[in-house]
């Protein structure tokens, strides 16, 4: 694995934030430093498709998806890991893609909202949707739709974890995903609905 070393510099900006860490980050592999903007090769399987990519070490998984691969379904809400809009599944585990450098995920399998339908073992429904996507539409579990891809990936990831069984546990386990439109009760309704469906535990992306 790569060893990472971060060097900080003071700033006069009022908004002291993560970029400062990233900009000055030097990636060190086998003792040889690589500048943050020098591209390195990685391979990722994204939504079932294998990709060989040249990625700068300072590029987050989120920015790689959105800017380079045009998978804009994954959203940038805060870029600080505080809102959950960027949630994707990495090897079946829900991850804030804004907090992951793409180079750190070399070799991983990534599922975004665009690939969610292909994840359920039984295949997508006749509407081409993953059962969770269909339940979100049916229960009106969103309004503006911007947090929705993250909510969907997070809820599938949460079911993979298998810890949440009650409404209270779902609410707790989904609290990393903010919905400013306030669709929370409908989100929980949608997840409960999917959980109640037959064979849900096997079918909903546990494959990864």
């Amino acid at each position: 694995m790569h060893a990472l070393r971060a060097v900080f510099a003071p700033t006069c900006s009022p908004f002291r934030e993560k970029p400062f860490l990233l900009e000055r980050l030097m990636l060190i592999e086998s003792g040889s430093p690589v500048a943050a903007d020098t591209r390195v090769g990685i391979s990722l399987t994204i939504n079932g498709q294998h990709r060989e990519l040249q990625v700068a070490p300072w590029t987050t998984l989120l920015d790689l998806l959105r800017e380079t691969l045009d998978l804009t379904g994954t959203k940038k809400g805060c870029d600080h890991g505080q809102c959950g809009a960027c949630t994707v599944l990495v090897d079946g585990v829900r991850v804030n893609s804004c907090l992951a450098l793409a180079v750190m995920k070399d070799g991983a399998e990534v599922t975004t909202v665009e690939g969610l339908a292909g994840l359920s073992n039984g295949g997508a429904g006749s509407n081409g949707l993953h059962p969770m996507q269909a339940a979100f539409v049916e229960h009106d579990a969103f309004q503006c739709g911007y947090c929705t891809p993250g909510q969907l990936c997070s809820s599938v990831g949460m079911m993979n974890e298998g810890h949440a069984h009650s409404r209270d546990e779902i609410r707790e386990a989904m609290s990393g995903n903010i919905c400013r439109c306030g669709a929370y009760t409908n989100i929980v309704d949608a997840i409960e609905d999917v959980m109640a469906q037959d064979g849900a535990a096997q079918d909903l992306g546990a494959a990864r």
Partner: protein, 751 residues
């Protein structure tokens, strides 16, 4: 007076719960937002924000930033190209009076976080990195950012903001009546500064099409506003700029006005003659509009029976130094309650901040919190049930508007049905009288009110030979369900299945419509779409009647109905003809119409129109930890006809959740020495998360209203109004502690 909707045909879809037509696009990631459109020549702009709140830039050094490989240009006030000179060019459709902020205009700093440079680079990471290398030296002055520090300088704004009713003239003698009243209550109420924080940060993508033409994707609640702004500010022909925004990742008012990222993206694109995108960071979402604090004093005088004898509501709001932002804060007290001696005043004071702006139910969230908490205090003082007190002082006419009657006011039904659903009758009135385990249980209620408005709006309808219908205009669906309700209205008006109707919004090539705000979109765009479809229907009818052997021969238009893709003689389905057959027989490819709709002046001259609600809340307060769980909410709403109970319910849920945020969580904390919000991120500015929200029950009571042909009154705001007061009243009931300063945090409960 206008006809009601059902006269247009069958209500097959309108009034029934329907899934969002844009749902599949939103759950698959196909819905694209402003910062997600791209171009082959796209450059990325990153904003450098001011580190001081007041003063001037003494020097700005961009050399190190410009030396970074991949940096194209750094724009500052020293090298910016010329834009319009006079203020009015910068005044957008909802601007308050004043001189709108101009980014990179000169060396003056008016607020913390003000953009001082835009770094444009080939990729996002390079722009972000180079932005940290821009060296800015300032001459700082001491900022004033506290409402308390400037309250002595508050003034009555000389120029009133369009669409914002100033307080009415006082009636009776509120001060004398107060002095004489057997029960007197006078208290100060405050709420925290709040930031909208839609999940999508503000973003603009300006695509340069060559030859001085641009396609712009802007995060805005109505593209026409940005379109007019760009044309005026940059001296462009309107035909050379097209602004689109098919989806908006939340607005809540923050996207009503074109914000500075639009100006910066356009400035860079014009200078560089290439496409530029500017996306603000979450932190920078604290560098423009916000819900202003207000210092409010409510004075209530009543008889022993709780009958109001005096009502004073005085508010000092805040604004920036460059615009007189105004909202309706105090009038609601005079609208809701009947009282013979009333004085309502509203002044503003200037702070060294960006201009505040409209945030969901602007002014009403503020003012109704104060009056509805005060009324709960009066109920307690007079020994009355809070609902009984409100009924005793119930207004049957709008005293703030020459006692005009309300077009409709089903608030009593909200009280009855809300109380029933909540189980209010089981409440024991004494504070601290209900308890379960280690938690004190409190039940509180409050009234909500918002103005029901309609704006001039146009829309088109195009029926094609294949039977498909397109309708649309330039307003935005900000998550409210506009795509869906317009599809329902169009489908019903022409008797088509919803699947055959496509609604297009958020494009300046479509007929002009106002920004989506104020809860006016359903009434405004809905009526315009209905009229356009009606016009298409009439044209098709004329073609049908002219057909050889027409089953509609000698029938008048008002005797036909549209259903199942056919025009039929009303009540005689055997005499009908399919729309597609009519177009085929006439040999026409499309039948089109554009219509506009506006407020009904006859109605407005006779009536005032408001939506109302009754909000019931249960809180559970840990006596030792002061922690509050908000376990139950019932919001009973009277808002005229409900077009789609499913999306309508969601709007109320969202309003209630944001109201819970106001009540318990949201607080932008200013460091007054620096004039800077300290908690400018979603980790430290707490908006309600899933675990904070328990059960919310929404009731729509029947209410018939004739302000517009659809009978709708709007739903975007009413869900939030009153919610915070209901929570505060429940906390009082649980704990015996009256908290008049939001948010109600643990320190205040224990303190």
């Amino acid at each position: 007076m206008t006809q009601t909707f059902s006269s247009t045909g069958h209500d097959s879809f309108v009034g029934t719960p329907r899934n969002r037509v844009d749902g599949p696009a939103k759950v698959t990631g196909l819905a694209k937002y402003a910062g997600e459109f791209t171009a082959a020549d796209l450059a990325h702009g990153y904003v450098v924000s001011s580190a001081i709140a007041r003063g001037r830039i003494s020097a700005i050094d961009t050399a190190a930033a410009e030396a970074v490989p991949g940096v194209i240009k750094v724009l500052t006030h020293e090298n910016r190209s010329r834009t319009a000179w006079l203020d009015y060019n910068y005044q957008d459709a909802v601007a308050p009076p004043g001189s709108p902020f101009r980014a990179l205009y000169d060396d003056k700093i008016a607020f913390s976080g003000q953009p001082v440079a835009l770094v444009v680079a080939e990729d996002f990471e390079t722009a972000r990195h180079a932005a940290t290398l821009v060296k800015v030296a300032y001459e700082a002055e001491e900022p004033k950012t506290s409402a308390d520090a400037v309250r002595a300088f508050a003034y009555d704004p000389p120029k009133k903001r369009a669409g914002i009713k100033p307080p009415p003239k006082p009636w009776g003698d509120a001060d004398a009546a107060y002095d004489a009243a057997p029960i007197k209550l006078q208290n100060e109420y405050r709420l925290a500064v709040e930031h909208h924080n839609p999940m999508e940060p503000h973003a603009s993508t300006v695509v340069y099409e060559g030859d001085g033409k641009y396609t712009v994707y802007d995060k805005v609640q109505g593209v026409s506003n940005s379109h007019n702004y760009l044309a005026a500010v940059f001296g462009l022909k309107k035909d050379d700029v097209r602004v689109l925004n098919p989806y908006l990742g939340g607005g809540f008012g923050s996207g009503l006005r074109p914000q500075y990222q639009l100006f910066l993206a356009m400035l860079a694109a014009r200078d560089l003659e290439r496409s530029v995108r500017v996306v603000l960071t979450r932190d920078q979402m604290w560098s423009f509009t916000y819900r202003p604090d207000a210092i409010q004093t409510v004075s209530l005088g009543s008889g022993e029976d709780g009958q109001l004898q005096a009502l004073r509501h005085d508010a000092i709001g805040v604004t920036s130094h460059y615009e007189d932002y105004q909202e309706v804060v105090v009038n609601w007290s005079g609208v809701l309650y009947k009282c013979d001696n009333v004085a309502l005043t509203y002044k503003i004071a200037q702070l060294d901040t960006a201009s505040p702006g409209d945030m969901r139910a602007p002014g009403a969230v503020t003012g109704v919190f104060a009056i509805e908490t005060a009324m709960d205090e009066l109920a307690h003082e007079a020994g009355l049930d809070p609902i009984a007190l409100r009924l005793r002082n119930f207004s049957e006419a709008d005293a703030t508007s020459e006692d005009k009657p309300f077009g409709s006011k089903a608030l009593k039904a909200c009280f009855t049905q809300g109380a029933e659903r909540f189980g209010w009758a089981k409440r024991t009135p004494a504070p601290r009288s209900m308890r379960e385990g280690h938690e004190l249980v409190g039940w509180g209620m409050a009234t909500g009110v918002w103005e029901s408005m309609m704006q001039q709006s146009s829309a088109h309808a195009i029926l094609s030979a294949d039977g498909k219908l397109e309708v649309g205009n330039s307003t935005g669906d900000i998550g409210t369900g506009t795509y869906t309700i317009l599809t329902q209205i169009a489908a019903d008006t022409l008797g088509l299945p919803m699947e055959d109707v496509t609604t297009k919004l958020g494009d300046t090539r479509l007929p002009e419509a106002p920004v989506a705000g104020g809860s006016w979109t359903a009434a405004s765009s809905g009526t315009a779409v209905m009229k356009a479809c009606r016009n298409v229907g009439e044209q098709v009818f004329k073609l049908a009647r002219a057909m050889e052997g027409s089953p509609l021969a000698n029938v008048d238009f008002d005797r036909v109905s549209f259903a199942n893709g056919r025009i039929a003689v009303a009540g005689d389905d055997s005499r009908s003809v399919a729309l597609v057959d009519v177009l085929k027989a006439a040999g026409v490819e499309t039948v089109e119409a554009t219509e506009s709709a506006g407020p009904d002046k006859d109605f407005a001259s006779q009536y005032e129109a408001y939506t109302h609600s009754a909000v019931f809340v249960e809180v559970r307060v840990d006596e030792e930890l002061g922690q509050i769980r908000l376990t139950r909410v019932v919001s009973a709403v009277a808002a005229g006809k409900i077009l789609n109970p499913k999306t309508a319910r969601s709007q109320i849920l969202g309003g209630v959740v944001m109201g819970i945020g106001s009540a318990l969580h949201e607080e932008s904390m200013m460091d007054h020495r620096l004039g800077r919000f300290m908690n400018h991120n979603l980790g430290e500015y707490h908006v309600p998360a899933n675990a904070d929200i328990y059960d919310i029950d929404v009731i729509f009571v029947d209410e018939e209203d004739k302000a517009n042909p659809l009978g709708v009154k709007g739903l975007g705001e009413i869900g939030i109004v009153g919610t915070a007061a209901a929570v505060a009243n429940a906390v009082f009931h649980a704990t015996g502690k009256r908290i008049r300063h939001l948010p109600i945090t643990i320190d205040k409960v224990l303190g």
